[in-house]
């Protein structure tokens, strides 16, 4: 009879948390689903459980009971990331690994490689030790039925190898139903009937379950049917597209390097295209002779398979750097996404501006001056002038929105990035007025317009004025009350 292995890392989110925060070992810890006070506990360590905390309890209640409780959220993304890493690790023991719909559980096909280890037990023990050495608490069962093996792993620590299917059935039947992540109401309803273990549950007639307890109960029951075993759905290898080549002899000439890179890039794009993907970003690693590794991150405006575009971006980037040594080896690592066919623009709706040209231009600027070199001003609601907009990097050029306002300001205020302090006067009171450069006299002041706030961080109190000089300049000034000083904040055209 063919065997199947189940590896279970119980309470995976809690294990992830404790690996992230090893100093929390030895204190009560809970994983919560939200950082707020109403976040509910999803996992608890033994110390917290001992202090009468329970799964499902609100964080605020738990902290009230146990003030030294340590809590954190483990996001589904984190758990998925760890799960992927674990699959990669387990793939060294068998090429056929499947993550199943139970947190921290994996099915592995033990056939094939187990002979290298001298039998199931040695093979399973190697997996157990491998994970334990990496501080993953785990149990490994090599059984005969996918779900029964999981049920055994839930209640047996270490390595378990049932002799036969009957032994596996006997062991798995003792598994409490609470281990199966059943919906609370279903679990309670079954509990009311005195059904507490898997064995109790499987005695119930399968045909009666769906109508009485719903699809979940029926599905659980079906999954343990002897004739309903699905084969393992192995996880595909998840390796990035990559290519590297040696430069012999080592070379520093950028043109020659680019030529060499072009050939490799061609192969890489072919590889990526074959996967049905496109390059989202490219990691260019240059191994230098007697100098540290030099790396560049190249990111086109959108995922691409355009060789010349990528090569142009590499050319621009390399043109801006000076390499500290000759290049011995080049490594190109592509971060890819699934490619989407470009949508043909509808006739008559083509924008007059060539946005793709704009994108290319911005790509070139970024490639030449860095990732954050292209920005736009975003208007923000604030009273303080410098807080009323923010520069933010943009990836894509956008068509400007047509202004609907018919009101056109007659003057343009040019605001200095940092207000310029004006020369101090003997009297530091605002009445003394600002001191301008020589030969400039203020003829009229309009104001004040008072802006104050930010007391929760740093108090700002400014009296703004428009000042008209004898030269006809219109200045925008303010008196800073806490600093008792005048500043020039801008000019008006």
């Amino acid at each position: 009879m063919k065997r199947v292995c189940c590896v279970l890392l119980p309470m995976l989110p809690l294990q992830i948390l404790l690996r992230k925060k090893p100093h929390w070992n030895g204190v009560p810890v809970a994983v919560v689903d939200d950082d707020g006070p109403n976040g509910r506990i999803t996992h608890l360590n033994a110390l917290a459980r001992k202090s009468r905390l329970r799964i499902g309890m609100r964080q605020t209640v738990a902290r009230d009971l146990l003030p030294n409780l340590h809590t954190a959220v483990v996001s589904p993304e984190e758990a998925s990331e760890v799960s992927r890493e674990l699959i990669t690790s387990l793939q060294t023991f068998s090429p056929r690994v499947e993550a199943i719909d139970h947190a921290g559980a994996f099915h592995i096909d033990p056939e094939g490689l187990r002979r290298l280890y001298g039998g199931y037990r040695n093979w399973a023990t190697s997996i157990h030790r491998y994970l334990r050495a990496r501080h993953w608490r785990n149990s490994v069962t090599v059984g005969f039925h996918r779900h029964r093996a999981l049920a055994v792993a839930m209640t047996h620590s270490g390595v378990t190898i049932p002799e036969g299917a009957d032994e596996e059935r006997e062991q798995s039947n003792k598994t409490p139903l609470g281990e199966f992540d059943l919906p609370g109401e279903l679990y309670e309803s079954l509990g009311a009937l005195g059904i507490e273990t898997l064995g109790d549950f499987l005695v119930l007639p399968a045909g009666e379950l769906h109508s009485r307890f719903g699809a979940k109960a029926s599905a659980l029951h079906d999954s343990f049917a002897e004739d309903m075993q699905l084969p393992i759905q192995p996880h595909a290898f998840d390796e990035p597209a990559r290519i590297s080549f040696q430069v012999d002899p080592p070379d520093k000439d950028q043109n020659r390097l680019l030529f060499a890179i072009k050939g490799a890039l061609h192969s890489l794009l072919h590889q990526v295209r074959a996967r049905g993907e496109a390059i989202q970003s490219l990691q260019l690693s240059l191994h230098l002779e007697r100098a540290p590794l030099h790396q560049e991150h190249i990111e086109p405006a959108s995922p691409t398979l355009d060789l010349m575009l990528v090569l142009e971006l590499i050319r621009l980037r390399l043109g801006e750097v000076s390499l500290q040594g000759a290049v011995e080896e080049v490594d190109l690592l592509a971060n890819t996404v699934r490619a989407r066919p470009e949508q043909a623009a509808l006739p008559g709706h083509q924008p007059r501006r060539d946005m793709s040209a704009a994108h290319r231009a911005l790509d070139r600027i970024r490639a030449a001056y860095g990732e954050h070199s292209v920005t736009r001003a975003r208007i923000r609601e604030a009273h303080l002038p410098e807080a009323s907009f923010r520069w933010e990097p943009i990836q894509h050029a956008r068509l400007g929105e047509q202004s609907t306002s018919t009101c056109v300001s007659s003057m343009v205020r040019r605001v200095y990035a940092r207000p310029k302090a004006l020369p101090p006067r003997k009297s530091r009171e605002p009445e003394a007025g600002p001191a301008l450069a020589k030969n400039h006299i203020i003829e009229h002041m309009y104001g004040p317009y008072r802006v104050s706030g930010g007391w929760w961080k740093r108090l700002v109190e400014r009296d703004y004025y428009y000042a008209e000089t004898d030269h006809g300049d219109l200045l925008w000034l303010f008196y800073d009350r806490p600093r008792k000083r005048w500043f020039l904040h801008g000019v008006l055209d």
Partner: protein, 1031 residues
């Protein structure tokens, strides 16, 4: 130097906008030498009364007005309206009411049509559009263009445009800034309030907060400088203020005129009804002293012209009688013989020697305050009757202004400051609701860095915001009624609850303006009594009313003196039960004292022990001054009641009646900081000067402070004591009817239904389980044996048991009730029952789990399995039974049955959860409650019981009182703070608790003083029991 009147001033009663109390604004205006100040809260007159009262004290005028929101073409424009006359004020209130009526709670939008009939009001418009619209309807004479100068850069162009339109329309300008706080120091708080209102954090507040701190109440010279270019627009503020002559004192309130019988005046009709009632009360012979008292009261009522008020209360009481709704007046109304004769109250004030002047006096000339307790599940009927009888515009409920308390302050301010939600959650849990000072140490304990600026800001701002109004809620039962529409006195708003309207003032405002109000309050005890009387009539043919319950019954007092009072109104709590064996009530007046003495006032004033010692003759009854003997002789020289404290202030500290009344108000104004304290400096030196010992003076004052929290007047205690006596009598003589009634009146009282059921069982009442074929929705009395066959013939209660009602099955609601009551019974089998009732799977499961289907010969598990299948066919009309697998599940063990009962219906008739553990506990030498009661003082022992109550009174210095229960009774456990803290998690959560402690026995009262707490290692499902916790 000129002067001005601020005409656009919003107090903190412009919820979450204004940052100063109305009093602070008035005080600041007075300090600045301003001749008047307008109060113009947003969309209402919420803060007007408080400003008015303070202004009267300071001698400054308040201009009455509001900032309302005018809707024009879908846009909202703020307009300030100022009332010139009473008519103008009434029109303004009516317009605001209309504005609120068309919007959701807390928002108002007035249309120009609402203002068409408005006269005698000045409108101050800040926008050209509003100016044009109001000019079209009201012309230029009552209109002003409002020029506001807060030094923001967008104001100048706006003002230019406004002035241009004003010139065009020939409207004058007036200068006024929007005042949001009395001093610039409140600016941060105003920013925080604005953010709370808009649900933002400060760092992202943007234009939610004001651009600068120019919204303060400015001194004259500063305001002059602002409007130096147009001083005339400031002078106009003075003219406007002078023309706005209306004052809240002008509100002359007339009570609704009743439909009087022809040819009778109000007074004459009241007199007739009173004496008619008196004859009924005194069986046709009205005693002389009662007649004298009634005459005196009628004379005062006539003099004060309050006859209509009594007639209205009489009408409401009559309505209750007609509808068979039990009601009873409480509070100071019980001091009135007229109220007693009219049937409004049930206490005879002449026999009780109660002070009528506490209720009504010519000197005080205030309207009487009658609170009417009504059966709690029928109160809504009475409220809707009042609305129907007087009309929606003539009746509205008094508001309850929800104010910031310590927890809400920390939570809301912390959120705005962007602090961690978790830390704030922890902080608010550490704080006690009753705390009125924010201790910065608590914030540190909650994990907030002590020296961090944000922590300091949190502490400072949360402290400032304490007692600030947050939003308007509804008073539990206070009504304002009028023969003229109420919305001419104060705007009316729709309440959240359907079919309710609420005024913009709370009860303190209504009191301060001496307006009439009626309090209709719900009381569970009356529901219980009514149910019990109905049961006695139905099953035993014994008609009872509160007045006909046999008085001064020895057996009842014996029971009460034992502290055997589970379920008895007012004297059932742990503290009351502990007091009863010490006080040992033997008369009704003893019960009155019992009700009043276990209160924070007497406890904090250390009045309890001296009273008990004197009662037992262990201490000589002495009076600190001979003239106090008359006041204190009823309570053995120890002041216990509110009236005594007032009289003491008059007699011993030379208070005038007016001062004494102010003292009463300050005692009533719950936790208004400083209002009680100011009496200390006045009262104690005067008492010392009268030769009263300092120790007594201090004690009286500390009791006054205690009354600030909670204290009973004698009349109120007497009203409650009457209900306590009636419920005690019912429990003593008709326990089965009493328990049935109280179970049907739930939720009410101190104990869970489980405790009530266990207590009844211990007293020999047979309580029968829920049965779908025998139980009604409510609990019922059911015959359990023929008279003569009963083991105890003379105990009639043994003839009836209590059948638990279906209402106790967890998960059944209104829909299920209708379906269960709408079908014929009995049901021959489960399938027929399911088809008849068409209940859903959840409800059927609940019934099966509760054991209600055992009558069909199915154990609970089999029933669950069956109903889960049958429920699919519940909508079928044909009586077909579906084929299904016949599975038999094991029956529950008897202990499990009890646990299931608790889980599915919060009680068990089959046994106590502790009974299953008794053998194990006994083998370890752990006694049951009855054996604890036989222990000696100082005995050390272990005890295990179910926690039914945890209580940490504010007066107990951190001590927590636990009431534990087992199958034989209760054990009171005292847990000192250090023991509680040591076992905090267990103490807070355990349903089953082990205690190691020492017996303390005094005056027949036993407490177990805990030394340690522990979790018993016996299996017991934790969900069986929920305790009632009061912290």
């Amino acid at each position: 130097m000129g002067t001005y009147v601020p005409l656009w001033v919003k107090s903190n009663h412009s919820f979450l906008e204004g940052a100063s109390f109305p009093e602070e604004l008035v005080e600041r205006a007075h300090a600045l030498g301003l001749p008047a100040v307008a109060i113009t809260d947003r969309d209402g007159v919420y803060g007007l009364v408080r400003a008015h009262m303070r202004a009267k004290e300071l001698g400054i005028r308040v201009v009455t007005g509001a900032q309302f929101t005018l809707g024009i073409d879908g846009n909202a424009h703020h307009v300030v309206a100022l009332a010139k006359t009473r008519r103008g004020y009434a029109d303004l209130c009516r317009a605001l009411s209309l504005g609120h009526a068309r919007c959701e709670k807390g928002v108002s939008l007035v249309t120009s049509a609402d203002l068409e009939q408005t006269r005698d009001v000045f409108f101050l418009c800040a926008t050209p559009t509003a100016l044009r619209v109001l000019h079209a309807s009201h012309g230029p004479s009552s209109l002003f263009a409002l020029c506001a100068r807060h030094l923001t850069d967008c104001e100048k162009p706006r003002e230019k445009a406004l002035r241009s339109v004003a010139r065009e329309l020939d409207v004058q300008t007036v200068g006024a800034n929007e005042v949001l706080y009395h001093h610039k120091l409140r600016r941060p708080l105003q920013d925080v309030l604005a953010c709370i209102r808009m649900g933002k954090v400060l760092s992202e507040a943007g234009h939610t907060i004001c651009a600068n701190a120019e919204h303060d109440l400015k001194p004259t010279d500063e305001f002059d400088r602002l409007f130096a270019d147009d001083p005339a627009c400031l002078r106009r503020t003075l003219d406007i203020a002078e023309q706005c002559a209306f004052s809240l004192d002008d509100l002359r309130y007339r009570y609704p005129e009743e439909h009087l019988p022809s040819g009778r005046s109000e007074q004459r009709w009241l007199r007739e009804l009173t004496f008619r009632g008196a004859r009924a009360r005194y069986q046709g012979k009205v005693p002389g002293d009662v007649r004298v008292q009634v005459e005196r009261e009628l004379q005062i009522i006539r003099k004060l012209d309050y006859g209509g008020y009594f007639l209205t209360m009489y009408e409401i009481v009559q309505y209750c009688r007609q509808q068979s709704i039990l009601c009873q007046g409480r509070g100071s109304a019980a001091n009135s013989a007229v109220c007693f004769c009219l049937g409004i109250t049930a206490i005879d004030p002449v026999r009780m020697d109660l002070l009528f002047e506490r209720f009504l006096s010519v000197e005080r000339a205030e309207p009487p305050d009658i609170d009417l307790d009504i059966e709690h599940d029928r109160r809504e009927e009475v409220i809707q009757h009042v609305y129907e009888k007087y009309g929606r515009r003539h009746a509205a409920m008094v508001a309850n202004i929800i104010r910031y308390r310590i927890r809400s302050a920390v939570r809301d301010v912390g959120k705005v400051l962007g602090l961690s939600r978790t830390d704030l959650g922890t902080a608010t849990r550490l704080l006690r609701h009753r705390d009125d000072v924010l201790n910065p140490e608590l914030l540190r304990e909650a994990g907030l860095e002590k020296d961090a600026p944000a922590t300091h800001q949190l502490w400072s701002l949360a402290s400032q915001v304490l007692d600030f109004p947050r939003h308007l809620s509804i008073h539990p039962g206070g009504f304002l009624l009028g023969h003229r529409p109420v919305d001419e006195i104060v705007p009316i708003e729709p309440a959240t609850m359907e079919a309710r309207t609420v005024i913009q003032w709370d009860k303190y405002d209504v009191d301060n303006l001496a307006l009439f109000k009626v309090d209709l309050l719900g009381l569970g005890a009356l529901t219980c009594i009514h149910h019990a009387f109905d049961l006695l009539l139905e099953h035993k043919g014994q008609p009872f009313e509160i007045a006909t319950v046999p008085a001064e019954d020895k057996a009842t007092y014996d029971m009460v003196s034992r502290g055997d009072t589970v379920g008895v109104f007012q004297i059932e709590s742990r503290a009351q039960m502990a007091m009863l064996p010490r006080l040992r009530p033997r008369t009704f007046y003893d019960l009155v004292i019992e009700v009043a003495i276990v209160r924070p006032g007497p406890i904090q004033g250390d009045m309890v022990h001296p009273y008990l010692r004197r009662r037992k003759g262990e201490e000589e009854i002495v009076y600190p001054h001979p003239k106090l003997e008359r006041i204190l002789n009823k309570t053995l020289g120890v002041p216990i009641f509110q009236e005594q404290v007032m009289k003491l202030a008059v007699e011993a500290a030379g208070y005038t009646p007016g001062e004494a009344d102010q003292l009463r108000r300050d005692m009533a104004a719950w936790r208004k900081s400083g209002r009680i304290e100011k009496h200390r400096t006045r009262m104690i030196p005067r008492m010392l000067a009268e030769g009263i010992p300092e120790e007594f003076a201090e004690r009286v004052f500390s009791q006054i402070r205690g009354f600030g929290e909670y204290g009973f007047p004698e009349s109120h205690a007497a009203s409650f004591a009457l209900l306590a006596y009636v419920t005690a009598w019912l429990r003593c003589h008709h326990h089965e009817a009493f328990i049935c009634a109280i179970l049907n009146a739930q939720p009410m009282g101190f104990y869970t239904p489980a405790t009530l059921v266990e207590d009844a069982k211990r007293h020999g009442v047979e309580v029968l389980p829920i049965d779908i074929n025998k139980s009604q929705w409510n609990c019922t009395l059911t015959p359990i044996g023929e008279e003569g066959q009963s083991p105890v013939d003379d105990a009639k209660r043994r003839l009836y048991g209590v059948r638990m009602g279906l209402r106790y099955v967890k998960g059944l609601g209104v829909v299920e009730r209708e379906r269960l009551q709408g079908v014929e019974r009995p049901h021959p089998n489960l399938a027929t029952f399911v088809r008849r009732t068409r209940l859903n799977k959840k409800a059927l499961h609940a019934l099966a789990e509760a054991g209600a289907l055992e009558c069909f010969g199915l154990n609970r598990r089999d029933a669950i399995w069956q109903v889960r299948s049958l429920s699919r066919f519940s909508q079928d009309s044909l009586p077909l039974e579906p084929a299904s697998s016949q599975i038999s599940f094991s029956s529950l063990a008897s202990d499990d049955q009890v646990l299931w009962d608790y889980r599915s219906s919060h009680h068990s008739t089959r046994g106590h959860p502790m009974r299953g553990l008794r053998h194990a506990l006994r083998s370890r030498g752990i006694p049951e409650a009855t054996r604890i009661h036989g222990c000696e003082h100082g005995d050390e022992l272990d005890y295990v019981g179910m926690v039914i109550c945890r209580q940490r009174p504010g007066t107990a210095s951190g001590v927590t009182f636990f009431t534990l229960e087992d199958e034989t009774g209760f054990v009171n456990v005292v847990v000192w703070k250090q023991v509680f803290d040591r076992h905090a998690a267990l103490a807070k959560t355990a349903a089953l608790l082990g205690v190691t402690g020492e017996i303390q026995k005094a005056d027949g009262v036993i407490h177990l003083i805990a030394k340690s707490l522990w979790a018993p290692d016996v299996a017991l499902a934790e969900q069986t029991h929920r305790s009632r916790d009061f912290h």
